[in-house]
Amino acid sequence: MRWFQVKRLLMGAEAIAEAAVDAGLEAYFGYPITPSSEIMENLAILHARHRSDKFKVYFQSASEVESINLLMGAGAAGHISMTATSGPGLSLMAEGISYAYTSEIPLVIIDVNRGGPGLGNVAPEQSDYLFVTKSLGHGGSKGIVLAPSSIQEAMGQVRMAFELSFKFRMPVIILTEAIIIHMLESVEQDHQFPVNVETSWSARGRKNGARHLINSIYLEPSEFREIKIKLEEKWKAVEPLSECFMCDDAETLFVAYGISARIAMEAATDLRGRGIKAGVFRPITLNPFPGKMLVDAARNSRRIVVIEMNEGQMVHDVQYWVRRDVEQIPFMGGIYPDTEEVLEKCK
């Protein structure tokens, strides 16, 4: 339901913070880390100015380990809660994400990628792809991963993340880069009503009814097998999302996500001008990976070129699905793809 629309020039962090509060964020817990801190700083202002009646809790934690557990507490009590962090912080949160997955606790984490591994640097990379899609915590835990390629899309994905986290009762990660967070873009703000979430399962005291158990320990193997089957069936119901940009007749198909996809689209448009049929396949959900959509998009292509800002991480997923030779143009160390460089390597 739309009230009115305004067009504004906003920085990514500011837009995401406003979108989160407008979508019904109830609790923000965070620990500062570059390049994600601006999201937290903007939320501090929005909280102090009482932008929303629902946004009651703003809390600076003592570490990312504490952050994820604060999120789990608020999530277990059935409140929409979020944090923003970067790779080193997400590493510390992996423990909690694993517990949250089995305990079926909804929570949202914005991971602003930085150059890694180690302390790396704070320049834009897409270095956490494998971490967030393949190994988000011990024991095979996972979460839905969304990757926006514009500020406008990031705003919509915050709302989508709140809805998905409660619908499937699992962690949702928005994987983005320092470019999206720090650049300015013209965006439209859809002033919709805050999301409605179902919370009858949550632990707030049994209140004269049956008690609520938010638990991840199942010592009896036969019982745990049933739980894992249930979790897996739930996971299979998560729908993958993707975008095709001039894919239909593309002979050269770029596969890229996030900000890399924006650059790939520019390169594809340029190539079309030179008579080369190029297109871009952009996964919107990185987990679940839109593999069948990719196979469909790549059916006419002779070259598949993966562009990502790391040493080559998503390329494994692409290879797995298309089952033929895949080229890759990796950009590492915090250097983002340059259209000219992409064109040069595509000759």
């Binding site: 109830e26 609790a27 817990f29 009651k56 809790v57 809390f59 934690s61 003592a62 570490s63 380990v65 504490e66 557990n69 604060l70 999120l71 789990m72 507490g73 608020a74 999530g75 277990a76 009590a77 409140h79 809660s81 423990e95 909690g96 517990y99 305990s103 632990a203 707030r204 005291g205 049994r206 209140k207 004269n208 008690r211 609520h212 158990l213 938010i214 638990n215 991840s216 320990i217």
Partner: protein, 262 residues
């Protein structure tokens, strides 16, 4: 005598703790205190990792499982969004003072109105009796076969004294929960004083939370299985060694809940 069924305990719950362990006793006191204070319906227990984690099988109240050591952070998260809920955790000494010390100190330092019941048996119980941060000097454990060497591992952590250094906690107390054996000719009887004291401490801690303060109670209990002692010897050890290393006492009572007769 009519035995009253506590509403916070499952009617068919069977105690699965080792014989001689006081964990079950502590959970019973908590159930009794919730009933006495009329807060069972809004209670949320946060389970830690260790023997205390099994509480959800006996206590019929809302329950959230925390990762190892993180119970104070989970409690903070719940309390922030649900200020009306009564939130408490039962943590062991390994959970609270080794892996979870930072979370505990921060919850205490912020004065979050939650309650930590810390069961101190001076070893890691569930993992099979390894050295804990509270293991006293010279005590033999699975990882200190020649006794704890404090030159190397530092002296034990005194949690009540440590938390007393912070200004915001409202109630800090250490009690012995292991009943004291009394030799009467050829018979051994157990004192009920410790149980009464422990129950009062549970009630006071929850009352403090209801009044808006952070409360922490350390219970000196036994782990006869991992101490490799008979039940009788373990009770003696709790009084002759544990209570000497960790002197019981009331470290702080900001609201004066202990002086009010319940």
């Amino acid at each position: 005598m009519q035995i009253k069924q506590l509403s916070a305990v499952f009617p068919n719950a069977v105690n699965s703790y080792c014989p001689g362990c006081e964990h079950g006793l502590l959970l019973k006191f908590i159930a009794m205190a919730l009933e006495e204070l009329g807060i069972t319906e809004k209670a949320v227990m946060v389970g830690s990792v260790g023997c205390s984690t099994l509480a959800f099988k006996f206590l019929n109240i809302d329950y959230v499982q925390a990762p190892h050591g993180r119970a104070p952070a989970i409690m903070t998260g719940i309390k922030e969004v649900e200020p009306e809920a009564i939130v408490f955790a039962v943590q062991g000494d390994g959970d609270a003072l080794s892996i979870g010390l930072q979370e505990l100190i921060y919850a205490a330092n912020r004065g979050i109105p939650v309650t930590v019941f810390m069961y101190n048996n001076m070893v890691f119980g569930m993992t099979g009796g390894q050295m804990a941060p509270t293991t006293p000097e010279g005590m033999v454990t699975m990882t200190t076969p020649f006794g704890r060497n404090t030159e190397k591992s530092g002296p034990p952590i005194y949690s009540c004294e440590l938390l007393s250094g912070l200004s915001r906690p409202s109630y800090i107390r250490r009690v012995v929960i292991a009943p004291k054996p009394v030799q009467l000719k050829d018979r051994v009887l157990y004192s009920s004083k410790e149980a009464n004291e422990s129950y009062k401490a549970v009630v006071s801690a929850l009352k403090t939370q209801m009044m808006g303060g952070f409360s922490y109670v350390e219970f000196l209990g036994t782990c006869n299985v991992n101490w490799k002692m008979s039940i009788l010897d373990s009770k003696k050890y709790a009084h002759n060694v544990s209570a000497k290393v960790y002197p019981p006492g009331l470290f702080r009572d900001r609201f004066g809940v202990d002086s009010v007769e319940s």
